[in-house]
């Protein structure tokens, strides 16, 4: 299987902190690749580095072309979709406007898929996104990247703060999306990872420390414990947060 994404020696320093210290991994085309790790090890920063949202060194190749140093909007136009941690919907805009922003001028937006996956958004299209529930905002964030012809989706903690039922629904959506698009998923819910991920990449202190198929990693409790600091693969390792806002790095 060909690699759609390849990172070599990617380093990120922010405000004097050496957050990514040489990330190396490749993502095969198709399916879900999960990025795992304790809180604050650099998972979110890895996604942001791929997208050019933070300055980085090293090499990043997407679909056979180097994208390190390329402006974010061009990376996105080349086929990378991004669902950020905490959704980051535009609160003052309506659902409809949030989706309009994601349309690529000159290309037909795939509203059929969006309405099929998220029929509720059709009913709430005139509602301001800031007034939606967390689950509904997640639908908007996912719908935005599904409108365009993305070849790779970077999805950052899509189940963060959601009720268990919604976690299952988001997992179902991601599984369906992964049938047509490669998904690179940062996720703390190991049950979800077990259910939908093919490959697992574990990051610790800014480096990749483990790569294997997700099922074999999560079947090995001692390995999970040593790499992720949790007792088993059936637990949700989402850290307790006392206030809104991202904790990812």
């Amino acid at each position: 299987m060909t690699d759609i994404l390849r990172l070599s020696g990617v380093q990120v320093r922010i405000a004097g902190s050496h957050i990514l210290q040489g990330i190396d991994f490749a993502v095969s085309a198709g399916g879900v690749t999960a990025v795992l790790g304790r809180n604050g090890v650099g998972k979110t920063t890895t996604l942001k580095a791929i997208l050019g949202l933070v300055p980085s060194t090293g090499t990043i190749e997407f679909d056979g072309a180097r994208i390190d140093g390329v402006p974010t909007h061009r990376i996105v136009r080349s086929g990378v979709g991004y669902v950020p941690e905490d959704r980051e919907v535009f609160a003052s805009l309506t659902v409809e406007e949030n989706l309009e922003l994601a349309e690529v001028p000159g290309l037909d937006a795939d509203y059929d898929t969006v309405h099929e996956l998220f029929p509720e958004l059709l009913q709430r299209r005139k509602q301001r996104a800031g007034t939606l529930s967390g689950g509904q905002q997640q639908m908007v964030a996912l719908a935005r990247v599904l409108l365009g012809p993305a070849k790779l989706l970077l999805v950052d903690e899509p189940t963060k703060g959601l009720a268990p039922k919604l976690v299952t629904e988001v997992g179902d959506v991601l599984a369906r999306v992964a049938q047509r698009t490669t998904v690179l998923l940062v996720e703390q819910s190991l049950p979800l990872v077990r259910r939908i991920a093919d490959t697992a990449i574990v990051i610790d202190t800014g480096r990749v420390v483990h790569v294997s198929d997700a099922a074999s990693l999560l079947a090995d409790e001692s390995l999970v414990n040593s790499l992720l600091g949790v007792a088993g693969a059936n637990v949700d390792v989402t850290p307790q947060r006392t206030r809104a806002g991202g904790s990812g790095t």
């Binding site: 061009r74 991004y82 980051e88 922003l101 690529v104 935005r144």
Partner: protein, 292 residues
């Protein structure tokens, strides 16, 4: 009663002038987080451009003034776009350097205008109809007030339509809220930055030209003097909010005029600063709740 009407209309006219200057400043900060201290130079450049144009357009008769206004706005827009492209764009995320550059540019502008046209105010050739008055409730209202109010109204409606009903407006509104996420949706937000600087420059230049009509002259320090009030208006209104800026401009213009007339001549400026302090104490994020 006629005095009150005159004071109120003059206050609204002054507020309209402040809105013309402050609207671009508010949009620029709201979208780009750039405190543009060179905004006054855009205003003055537009005023001088219109002044020069008027001298060369006398053959157009009644059209010379509107064409001169247009020339001033185009010059303001061009300067705004060029400043963004060559000076501000390389300094995004470097806020201290941005402030230093725009402050320096503002000072340089005053020196440049002084060097070319001298330090003294030059009489601005006003259309005859702006020097007349219109009777409202017994008060003889100078027509230039209506020109300011009309121009500000057109600009406000134009900006609202742009922001509400166009894709570029949608990008600006989204960018004011979360610039990084706009880029992450595949939108080249830098082009929008240039456009917003151009719009801000054109609006400031319009304020400069009409301010020159109001004052009857154009001078190198004109922009700097108005910039202070524009910043006060933007802070009171809430950064990035056109509606808030319009409301704040109206309030500042009225307070200034009413205080000058009913309290003590010259105390209007102090009252505006007191108003700013009061708003910051009660609503630190401004009238529309957007923080600096």
């Amino acid at each position: 009663m006629s005095s009150l009407i005159l004071i109120l209309v003059t206050g609204v006219g002054l507020g309209a002038l402040y809105f013309l200057v402050a609207s671009g400043l508010s949009l620029i900060y709201g979208l780009m987080h750039v405190l543009n201290f060179a905004h006054g130079a855009f205003l003055t450049a537009g005023a001088y451009a219109a002044w020069v144009a008027t001298a060369h357009l006398s053959g157009l008769g009644g059209w010379s003034f509107p064409v001169a206004v247009l020339v001033g706005m185009v010059v303001g827009a061009l300067i705004g776009a060029l400043v963004e492209f060559f000076l501000i764009r390389p300094l995004y995320r470097r806020h201290i350097e941005q402030v230093l550059v725009t402050v320096g540019l503002g000072l340089m502008g005053v020196a440049l205008f002084t060097g070319i046209w001298g330090p003294d105010p030059l009489p601005f050739p006003r259309p005859a109809w702006t020097t007349g008055t219109t009777d409202i409730g017994g008060a003889a209202i100078p027509n230039d007030r209506f020109l300011l109010i009309g121009a500000a109204g057109v600009l406000l409606i134009g900006l609202v339509l742009l922001l509400r009903y166009t894709r570029i407006g949608l990008i600006i509104r989204a960018g004011v809220e979360n610039r990084s996420m706009v880029q992450a949706l595949g939108i080249d937000v830098r082009r929008t930055f240039t456009l917003v600087f151009a719009i801000g420059g054109a609006a400031a230049a319009l304020g400069g030209v009409l301010g020159s009509v109001y004052l009857g002259s154009v001078s190198p320090g004109q922009g700097t003097a108005l910039l202070i009030y524009a910043f006060i208006v933007v802070v009171i209104g809430g950064f990035g909010s056109i509606g808030g800026t319009a409301l704040a401009a109206l309030v500042v213009g009225l307070v200034q005029q009413l205080a000058n007339y009913y309290l003590y001549s010259g105390i209007g400026d102090v009252s505006v600063v007191l108003l700013l302090a009061a708003v910051l104490l009660v609503r630190p994020a401004g009238l529309t709740g957007k923080t600096a």
